[in-house]
């Protein structure tokens, strides 16, 4: 099994470097979350050696946080589901069709992503205003979906192209309909890509902040991403609070990652190619 084979001597070195590159900032985040505001600016060894306290955590763990967390879950799950519903078929469709129009469509997907998110707020505000979607979780989900669908389609397409066309043809010869082929043959093989895309969409929409802050108009509706931004006020930045919240708000993500890791890790092909 390829997974068991060592990839030479370079791989552990790369892994070591990555551990440092990504571990040190995380350690720094956790350390800062255990400091008081004054200790944040310690210099020299005081940066690492100080008397820790968990005020930053206890201060921020209250009912409003749970409410925001629930909102984040709803938005991220809703966006993930909606994006998959429309982007998975679209990625397949663009993987299996040729001609000028699909090519133009791909180009359009790239260009659509270049519209700055801040530039979309005002037009969407007007659209949602006239459709009654303001101050509405569904509105934010729709906005996030619109933001992420081009990205998802572009990402999914190569995974669908990686499905051997011979399989689809043999399915056709067996008399299966296109939809059936898609569902039963193509999707299972492309599931790595779909699962990866789904995870990424969930993570991105979990952290999405601009639409959430702009389209919610009443108190208590902001998701966690906005709660994080609250640590940066006009009057000062609560560094320990910001880092503590970063840790708290990322825990559900870690839970999701651990839960799906086994699935993402195995990556078995079904062996149906033989």
């Amino acid at each position: 099994m390829t997974n068991k084979r060592k990839s030479g001597k370079v791989a552990p070195v790369v892994r070591g470097l990555l551990f440092v590159a990504y571990g040190v900032p995380i350690i720094w985040i956790v350390i800062t979350s255990l400091k008081t505001s004054g200790q944040v600016f310690n210099t020299g060894w005081g940066m690492i050696f100080f008397s820790p306290n968990i005020t930053a955590y206890t201060k921020n763990l209250h009912g409003a946080l749970l409410q925001a967390g629930l909102q984040s879950i709803i938005i991220a799950t809703g966006t993930c589901v909606l994006v998959l519903l429309i982007a998975v078929p679209a990625g397949y469709g663009l993987a299996r069709t040729t001609g000028r129009i699909p090519t133009i469509a791909l180009g359009a997907l790239i260009i659509l992503q270049m519209v700055p998110q801040t530039a979309t707020v005002i037009p969407l505000f007007q659209v949602f205003g006239s459709w009654g979607l303001l101050d509405n979780t569904l509105g934010v989900v729709i906005a996030d979906t619109a933001l992420l669908t081009p990205f998802a389609v572009l990402l999914l397409r190569p995974f669908f192209r990686g499905v051997p066309i011979a399989l689809e043809e043999s399915g056709a010869i067996d008399g299966a309909s296109v939809w059936r082929i898609f569902r039963s043959i193509v999707l299972p093989i492309a599931r790595n890509g779909v699962a990866t895309t789904a995870t990424l969409i969930f993570l991105i929409s979990w952290g999405e902040f601009l639409y959430a802050v702009n389209f919610f108009l009443s108190p208590g509706r902001y998701p966690l991403s906005a709660v994080l931004a609250q640590q940066i006020t006009a009057f000062g930045i609560d560094w320990p609070g910001l880092m503590a919240l970063a840790v708290i708000t990322s825990i559900p993500i870690l839970v999701l990652f651990v839960a799906t890791y086994k699935q993402l890790r195995d990556g078995l092909t079904l062996g149906a190619v033989k």
Partner: protein
């Protein structure tokens, strides 16, 4: 785990990934059902389509940018004061992150939506009024019995209509580390620029930093640079290259002499004060709103006027109060403003919880103001050195452009990209276009 449960529900025997099961035949149905359920939950979770800007007399909405639990007491106090006199009306205080408040108001206005009351950075009144987000206050103001209590600098007009009133004033002064001053043998805070320089030199020799200021290339730098520009003789009414060159030379000398860290170009107004609180810096140019943060200092501190010439001016900022243009209950909105942040008790609340200086003239001799050395230190500067923010000499539509130009140039001077003369030329040529009426 959710995925694993699906695995069993669908009676699967193969041990491959749960997600794959979900995406196979039966799983597709399940997924569709989940999707439908999610959408139903979403619409159930959403409020009715009545936008919260509507103020049936049973509630009014207030947008503000104060989130810190102590500072937010001002907001809750204002809401309580209003609800006491209006038992049938509820106040919805909606926090909007400071950086997002203006753009959210403008976006909402483009969709004909908005809150009843807006509490915002007073200096932005021009932009907000121009964008049609605010309602004129003239008819409420003319009937307001306390209107004579408010100095001209607290009133914001646009196209000759009043759009915002400040209940408080925020300005900058020289925070100093009293313990460090004693240690360096400095008897009193500097009153002239030469004394200032000499004091900072002493700090440097002893291994400390002399000063922290803002150097981030945006309006905050323009706000903090203004005292030094005006000290050198600059004004927006009569800008000159000579005054600008002199001011920039002074500023750059602080960095070149080692009193001010070049890192200042990455500092807004919060970071330099946090640096000051470490105790390693002698002076900090910063505002009254740091009073709360200052209480955490492990050293004795005080506030003194910036060592400016008689020409030196300080911008008078502060939170502006306004009525939203799309408010359905402007009269109630005005009553909220009146009983909240414009009232004496509202101003005392702002002073105690944020540190902002009361604007009302009848508060000048109030014990809450006179009893605190810090507050008095700031308050005493308002009359002699106060200047309107933004300057009336700048055409409203170019205010942001001017602030950006001066802020970026100040940053470039501190960072050493521009010589003082080049910087002065750059600002002058920019102002020649931007200041044209």
């Amino acid at each position: 785990m959710w995925f694993k449960e699906e695995h069993h529900l669908l009676g699967v025997t193969r041990t491959s990934s749960g997600l794959a099961r979900i995406l196979s035949r039966k799983g597709r149905v399940a997924l569709a059902a989940i999707a439908a359920a999610s959408l139903l939950i979403l619409s159930a979770c959403s409020t009715t389509s009545a936008p919260s800007s509507s103020a049936t007399p049973s509630q009014i909405t207030v947008w503000h940018y104060t989130i810190d639990p102590i500072q937010a007491k001002v907001i809750t106090a204002a809401a309580a004061a209003f609800e006491k006199t209006h038992p049938h009306t509820k106040v919805n205080s909606v926090y909007v992150p400071y950086d997002q408040l203006q753009s959210k108001l403008i976006a909402a206005a483009a969709a004909q939506q908005g809150p009843d009351v807006v509490l915002f950075n007073g200096g932005d009144a021009n932009t907000l009024a121009a964008a049609g987000t605010l309602a004129p206050l003239d008819k409420y103001w003319s009937a307001y019995k306390d209107k004579s209590q408010f100095p001209d600098s607290t009133l914001h007009y646009y196209n000759n209509k009043l759009y915002a009133v400040q209940g408080v004033v925020d300005l900058v002064a020289l925070w100093y580390n009293q313990d460090l001053m004693k240690k360096l043998g400095i008897a009193a805070p500097p009153t002239t620029i030469d004394e200032f320089d000499a004091d900072m030199a002493k700090a440097k020799v002893a291994g400390y930093k002399g000063l922290t200021v803002t150097g981030l290339p945006n309006d905050q730098s323009e706000w903090q640079a203004y005292p030094w520009l005006t000290h050198a003789g600059f004004s927006y009414e009569k800008p000159t290259v000579a005054s600008l060159t002199s001011a920039f030379t002074t500023a750059q000398s602080w960095v070149n002499n080692g009193y001010l860290s070049k890192e200042a170009v990455t500092w807004d107004q919060t970071l330099p004060f946090q640096q000051f609180l470490t105790g390693n810096v002698l002076f900090a140019e910063n505002g009254d709103w740091q009073a709360g943060a200052a209480k955490g200092a492990k050293f004795k501190y005080g506030v003194a006027p910036l060592p400016l010439s008689t020409d030196g001016k300080l911008y008078l900022g502060g939170t502006g109060n306004a009525i939203g243009a799309f408010s359905k209950a402007p009269q109630l909105a005005w009553e909220y403003i009146e009983s909240g942040t414009l009232s004496k008790s509202g101003e005392i609340s702002a002073l105690e919880n944020i540190g902002s200086i009361p604007a009302r003239l009848d508060m000048v001799k109030d014990p809450t103001v006179t009893s605190s050395a810090i507050t008095q230190g700031f308050a005493s500067l308002i009359g002699p050195n106060g200047a309107k923010y933004p300057s009336a000499a700048i055409p409203p539509k170019n205010v942001a452009g001017v602030q950006l130009l001066v802020g970026q140039t100040w940053s470039a001077v501190l960072g050493g990209q521009l010589t003082p003369k080049d910087a002065a030329d750059k600002v002058m040529s920019g102002l020649n276009t931007l200041l044209k009426k």
